[in-house]
Structure formats: C-alpha cells, structure tokens
C-alpha cells in the first residue's frame, strides 16, 4: 500500500505523506472521542460543578451591605474606627437616605439578619430605627410648610423638579387611566444643576414610590430628607431660584429668607438617630457596617472556625458561641471510631471470604451485598426500631436478665447510636476492598512462613498482614470519606450529642437561613474530602473502584 519517495518519505495510498495521514486520523479520533464525552461533561459541569462553585462563591460573597447602604458605605470611607468617636453628620444623613429606601423595599430586615450574625443586636437595632427613620428631619419639613403651605402638596415637588417632558407624559398617563405603569420620573436639567441634592433625593423617592410601592409621586408627600436637601441646596446657592420660572421664584426666595431669618432649623440626623437608639451615638454599629461593607468577606469562614472579624483584626468568639471547631472535631473523631470498628469487624470477615472455597464464599458474600444494596433509610429505620428503649435489643437483654427492666440501656439519640448504625451501614465498604486485596494474596506464603518455623501469629503478623495493608488503606479512606459527610443517619439516631457537621450545614440552610455560613462550613468539609480523595486516588486509583 505504501510507497517511498526518493528522499525516504513514506507515502500513503492517496500519495500524501504517511505521517501526515496518520496525524490527521489521530486528530479525527481525538475529536470523535471528545464529541462523545462532551454532552455528559457539559451536563455534569452545569448541574453539579456550577452548584459547587456557587456554594464556594456564597461562602465569601457579601453584597448585601454595599447594596443596601451604598451611600453610608461611601460616606464611611473617610471615617476610621480608631478615632474612638462616631462619624460626622453626613454619614448619619447618608444612612437616613439609605434606610428610607431599604425600609420601603423591606430589605433592612435582611440586612439586620445578616449583620446580626456578626454582632447580635443589630437586627433589632435596624428594625427599631427603621420605624423611626420616617420622622427624622420632621422639624425641617414642618418649618418649610409653615413658610408656604404649598410645600405640603405632592405636585409642588413634581412640578418644581420634574422634566417638562415627563410632566406632560405623566399627565397623559393619568388622564388615560389605564393599567400601564406610570412613566418613570425624570428630573429636569435645571433642577439637577441648581438643586443637585434635592434632585437626587427626590429621584430616589420617586423611584421607590414607582417601583416598590407602585404609587405615583404626584400623590405622596416626599420624605423629610427631600425637604432637608432643598434647604441645604438653597443655603449653598441662594440665587438658585433665578433658574426656575416666574411662579417659582417668590416661593424659593421665601424659603431662602426664612432660612436666613432662622425660621427653618438646621437638620440634625445624628441627634435623631441617637434618640432612636443610643447605640448610634457610639462608634460600635458603624464599625460593624464598615468592617462588613466590602463585597467579599472572610467573615463566614472565620465564623466557621469560631473566630470573628473585628476592626482590630481577627479575634476568637466568646465561649458560648464556639461550636464549629468542636463539631468538626467530633465529626473527625466519630468518623475515625467508625472506621476503626469497620476495620475490626471487616477484617475477619474479608479474610474468611477470601479463604473459603468459591461456592461458599459467594453464598456468604450475599450477606455482605444485601445490606450494601438495601436502602439507607431501611437500615436506619431498622436501627431506630431495634435500639429503642422499648425495642428488640433492650427486650432481649431484659429477658436474658442482663439489664433490669426499669434500667433499660439508652442506645439511641446519642453517640452510641450513631456509631452502631453507621458502622453497620459502612461495613460493606470496608469488606469489599479488603476482600479484593486479600483474594490476591497467595495462601502458600502463609504455609511457607509456617514451614520455616513461624508461629501462627508471627506468620500472620509478619507475612499476611503487611500484604493486606493496601486493602485496609483503601477501605479506611472510603469509609472515612463517606462517614464525615453523613447526614441522614446522625440526624435520625444521633440525638444532640451524636450529630455531625453536616447536620449543622443542613440546619443553617433550612432553619437559620444563614446560607453564607452553611456555604463556608460546606467548603471546609469539601476541602477535607478532596484531600482524602486525592490520597485515595494516589493509593488505589479511582479507576479501580469496584462496585458489588
């Protein structure tokens, strides 16, 4: 089929160099293999790896503070907790503006829940202040109405600050009276230029009214912060009135005159906040907001190892709040105990199975495989039934006279229950790898050792046991990996003392809703499992996993 050119190049039947043809065939083969794998790979990446990535992301994600209190976070940038004093008036003003929006959207309670994880008491602080924030700056608003009652009418504000095009569009919409949403408020260029604070504050108000409350800004009196902004704008720029039409000039000038005459008090948000809750007069809540304002935080991970972030750095949590390191430790210790009992119970059985004639061994193997194939819930229910104080085991012990009837053993809802049930559930995972390793150890080695004068024990310990160590290693890692991630069995038979870290993760997802902490705990557990998996892959090779 092949020919050779003068310079020694091999040619394929179609006259192309053989090497090139082979390369092309190889490329095609690679592509074909890849196309076969691609659908599954994409499926696993989307339905499994992406969720795991999402969990890792959530363990550091912390958008809520920056999203809910953007102005406060920006205003706090210049404040340092080291000063020992609370921040200045602009920060209080910013928080008032942020809170008005958050209260309308009801996001302040979520923020309170989030910050409560870091500083208990924050939730009630934000709830309480959220109720009071509407009234802050009320004296300014009232003084403004005293100057001219027209300021009490919602349309005054839309007409003063709205873009003429928006005003006519809004009027058309109101006339049509249909169900379409109101055209979104647009401030006029003159207002933005001459009354910048007012335009911004009113823009926020109108947006919240239209999107969150589904109300028209033409029908609601604006927040006091808008009135405060107007007085401040006019104080900074008394000639601003000139930029507006003839009917506005006397009204605005009257406000300027009243301000200069002292009829309108200066707004004091700091006093208002401190009145709402004394805590706002101290640096402490501000420290918390500033510490947790970045969009990414290590706070959840620190929490997961019983530490917390403070402005001074990382500090241990108080005694009462330390639970997670203890839980991790308990998970590890109980998993080790379960692995140990699995070795103790699995080794003799595996040895027997490996050394019996094939027919008997296959029959006995069913006794190992049936539990392996039986539903986890079935086995857990069986143990729950058997281990009860009125259950079969206690009945048997009482009948045999080993235990007094009024002194039945407590075998469930404690660590004993977890260890017994999980050993039973995981034992097949120890026996199967041990068995497959022991199958490969020739029995003649043991006989050879004995013929050379070794006692039974020496022959076993010096000759047989070392060869079975890979099986112990494989089985132990498998059992340990499975054990530290167990949730169902500890939940059902573990009681309060026998639960694992997984149960805490489930609790934070389902009950306490602290998803960030659940994600951080899960990430830590995942790291432990992946390290063990890597070790397992090194020792056994994942391709060598055998099932059944």
């Amino acid at each position: 089929m092949t020919e050779q050119t003068a310079d020694g190049l091999m040619l394929a039947a179609d006259g192309k160099p053989l090497k090139q043809s082979l390369n092309r065939a190889l490329r095609r083969q690679k592509l074909r293999a890849f196309l076969l794998i691609a659908p599954l790979l994409i499926f696993v990446l989307v339905t499994f790896i992406a969720p795991i990535g999402d969990m890792l992301f959530r363990s550091v994600e912390n958008d809520i503070v920056a999203d809910t209190l953007p102005r406060t976070v920006a205003a706090l940038a210049d404040w340092s907790p080291d000063s020992g004093a609370p921040p200045g008036e602009p920060v209080y003003r910013a928080l008032a503006s942020d809170l008005l929006i958050a209260v309308a959207a009801k996001t302040h309670t979520q923020l309170g829940t989030r910050l409560n994880y870091e500083d208990s008491g924050f939730s009630s602080l934000l709830r309480g202040t959220g109720r009071d924030v509407d009234d802050m700056g009320e004296d300014v608003g009232k003084a403004l109405v005293a100057v001219d009652p027209v300021w009490d009418e919602p349309v005054t504000w839309t007409n003063l600050l709205g873009d003429p095009a928006w005003i006519s569009a809004q009027a058309d919409w109101a006339k049509a009276g249909d169900k379409t949403p109101e055209p979104p408020f647009v401030p006029s260029a003159a207002a933005q230029k001459n009354l910048p604070l007012t335009a911004a504050a009113y823009g926020d108000f109108a947006r919240v009214m239209q999107t969150v409350k589904e109300d028209s800004p033409t029908e609601k009196r604006p927040w006091n912060t808008v009135a405060v902004s107007l007085t401040e704008d006019l104080k900074a720029n008394p000639s601003a009135a000139a930029a507006f039409g003839a009917d506005w000039q006397p009204r605005l000038s009257a406000v300027v005159a009243a301000e200069q005459g002292g009829a309108i008090p200066a707004a004091d948000f700091m006093a208002a906040f401190t009145e709402s809750d004394k805590a706002w007069g101290t640096p402490q809540p501000w420290e918390v907001i500033k510490t947790f304002s970045p969009r990414f935080t290590s706070g959840y991970f620190l929490n997961a190892v019983d530490l917390k972030m403070t402005p001074e750095g990382i500090a241990p949590r108080s005694e009462a709040e330390r639970v997670y390191l203890m839980l991790f430790l308990r998970t590890m210790v109980l998993s080790l105990v379960i692995t140990g009992t699995c070795i103790l119970l699995g080794y003799p059985v595996a040895w027997l199975l490996a050394n019996l004639p094939a027919r008997t061994a296959n029959l006995l193997m069913i006794l190992v495989l049936l539990p392996f194939w039986t539903s986890l819930l079935v086995r857990t229910s069986a143990w729950k039934v058997l281990l009860q104080q009125q259950g079969v085991i206690n009945d048997l012990l009482v009948w045999a006279g080993l235990v007094a009837d009024n002194n039945r053993l407590v075998l469930i809802n404690n660590q004993t229950g977890t260890i017994i049930a999980m050993t039973h559930i995981l034992l097949p995972f120890m026996i199967l790898p041990l068995y497959s390793v022991m199958k490969t150890i020739p029995p003649s080695y043991l006989r050879a050792a004995k013929s050379l004068g070794a006692t039974d024990w020496t022959a076993f310990w010096r000759v047989y046991f070392p060869q079975s160590v890979p099986g112990i290693g494989a089985g132990s890692i498998l059992v340990f990996i499975l054990a530290i991630g167990y949730y169902i069995t500890p939940e059902l038979v573990g009681g309060a003392k026998g639960v694992f870290i997984s149960n805490r993760i489930a609790y934070h997802i389902g009950t306490s809703l602290n998803w960030g902490l659940a994600a951080a705990l899960g990430s830590l557990l995942l790291v432990v499992v992946l390290v063990l998996y890597w070790v397992y892959d090194r020792i056994v090779g994942i391709d060598n996993v055998k099932l059944g």
Binding site: L35, P51, D54, W373, T380, S381, H424, G485, I488
Partner: protein, 283 residues
C-alpha cells in the same frame, strides 16, 4: 482453610472461635434487615415482638401495615413520585454516561484524568455539600422546588456509577470487532448498535440499576430541592422517622428490601452473562 489433622488444641479452639466471631459479624450485618420483615407483620402498633408473635399465634400477625402502605395516600403519593423521578433520572444518566464511557475508553483522549475526576466527583462529594450547592444554584435559575430540578440532580448523582460499570465492561471489549464490522461495510452507528451495544449491555444495565437505586434511595438532595408535592418514598420515611414513627414504615422498608433483593439477583445474573459473553468461565 480446613483444619489440618495435626492441629494443636489451641489451634482447634481458635479455628472454631474465629468462625463464631465471623458468624456474629455476619449476624450483625444481616439481622437488622431480616428482623424488620417479621416485625412488619405485627398486628399491634408496636416495634417489638408481641407475646402472640413469639408464640407463633396467627392472631399476632396481620397485613394491616401493608394495607396502610398500599392504600394510604401519605405513602402512595411518595411511592409514585419516586417511580416518576427515578426512571427519568436513570434514562438521562445512562444515555449520556454510556456515550461518555465509550469516548473515554478510546486511546488518545486529551485531559482524560481531569475529565474522569469531574465525572466521578458527584460520587465523592458528600451528599450534604452537593445538596447545599444545588439548593443555592437551582434557586438562582428557578429549578429549586421543581420536578426537573430533582430529576437533573438525581441523574448527575447516578452518572459516576454508569461511568464506572460501563468503563469496566469496555476494558474487556475486543476492539478488532468494531474494525471487523467496519471492514464488512457497517457505518459507525450500525456498528455501535449491532456489535458494541449487545456486548457492553450487561455493564449498561448494571449502571442503570445503580443509577436507579441511587435516585430511588436518595433523600438528602430531594429534601432540599423537592417541593412538598414531589415528596419521595425515602423522604416520607425520613419525616416518619423524625417526627411520629408509624409501624407502616416497617412495611415500606420490607417492600424496599424485596426490591433490593430483586436488583441484587438481576446484577448477579448480568455478571454471569457478561463473563460468559466475554469467554470467561464463571467462577
């Protein structure tokens, strides 16, 4: 294994003691599963043997827990939900998994070990972590609390088993057979369905059984992802065990044990068939 005639008394004692120990361990393995079967026929609402049962008095036995299991909607709905979820999840896992296993078994696959690690990972990652991640991610995309969310999650959990069993069958697959088919004029699709598929069928079916039982027994993920209307049998058992434990649970458990035995027998038959097809003598 048998005791030599020259064994000393100590060796004799140890030989029998060892058998007794192994017997006890086998008893530990099997007894909890076996004991719930007679308990499920208890005429009383107790979780232990009543005196009538111990006397083998027929009055002590009844089928009332089974009657409850097969008529009570609290149990029937979850049973049908499980039967609606598991086959679909199995179908997805088996079709995608078999194709990928064939792709992986070819030589010259780039990044083979990395791909393998990703495909096996659902089996390695603890279920609670998978459930947490899926809960977060599926809520973002609107799959949380839906039938398809549970099906997709169960499918991906079953995939490692399909990959492992099918890859294992493909190791013994003689590649010259596909070449022979191709040389006789069969296209790749025809070769696959007429030559390769029948030979790797035992592995595919075994993988399907694993995927099915994974979905059928799975409780952690469905607890987080499922809507109350998608309650599955293990979920119902879990709530039953946690809140108020009713003896019907023993009837449900016995039904599940029967299913496990059926699956185990099917697998054993398949293993023998696979060995015969590959020209190995059955052991």
């Amino acid at each position: 294994m048998s005791l030599p005639v020259y064994a000393s008394t100590g060796q004799r004692i140890w030989h029998y003691a060892f058998r007794v120990i192994c017997g006890l361990i086998f008893f530990f393995l099997i007894a909890p599963i076996v004991i719930i079967i007679p308990l499920s026929f208890n005429a009383q609402d107790f979780f232990t043997f009543s005196p009538e049962m111990l006397r083998l008095d027929p009055a002590g036995y009844s089928l009332k827990h089974y009657q409850d299991f097969f008529t009570n909607p609290d149990w029937q709905l979850p049973l049908w939900n499980s039967l609606a979820i598991a086959p679909v999840a199995t179908l997805i896992a088996v079709s995608l998994g078999t194709l990928a296993a064939i792709g992986l078994s070819q030589s010259h696959v780039p990044f083979k070990s990395a791909i393998m690690a990703i495909l096996i990972s659902p089996m390695i990652v603890p279920l609670i972590i998978s459930a947490a991640g899926m809960y977060f991610f599926y809520s973002r995309v609107g799959l949380q609390g839906t039938y398809w969310g549970v099906v997709l999650a169960h499918a991906v959990l079953g995939i490692p088993f399909v990959i492992i069993t099918v890859t294992a069958t493909l190791v013994g697959f003689d590649r010259s057979l596909t070449r022979a088919a191709a040389s006789l004029g069969a296209g790749p699709v025809r070769t696959f369905f007429m030559v390769q598929m029948p030979l790797i069928m035992p592995g595919v079916v075994a993988g399907a059984l694993f995927a099915f039982i994974t979905s059928f027994d799975e409780v952690v993920v469905v607890l987080f992802l499922g809507a109350p209307g998608d309650k599955t049998l293990p979920w119902q058992m879990f709530t039953g065990l946690r809140e108020q434990i009713s003896p019907t649970i023993l009837a449900a458990a016995t039904v599940l044990v029967a299913i496990s035995i059926a699956l185990l027998i099917t697998l054993e038959v398949l293993r023998r068939r696979s060995e015969r097809l590959r020209g190995m003598s059955p052991t």
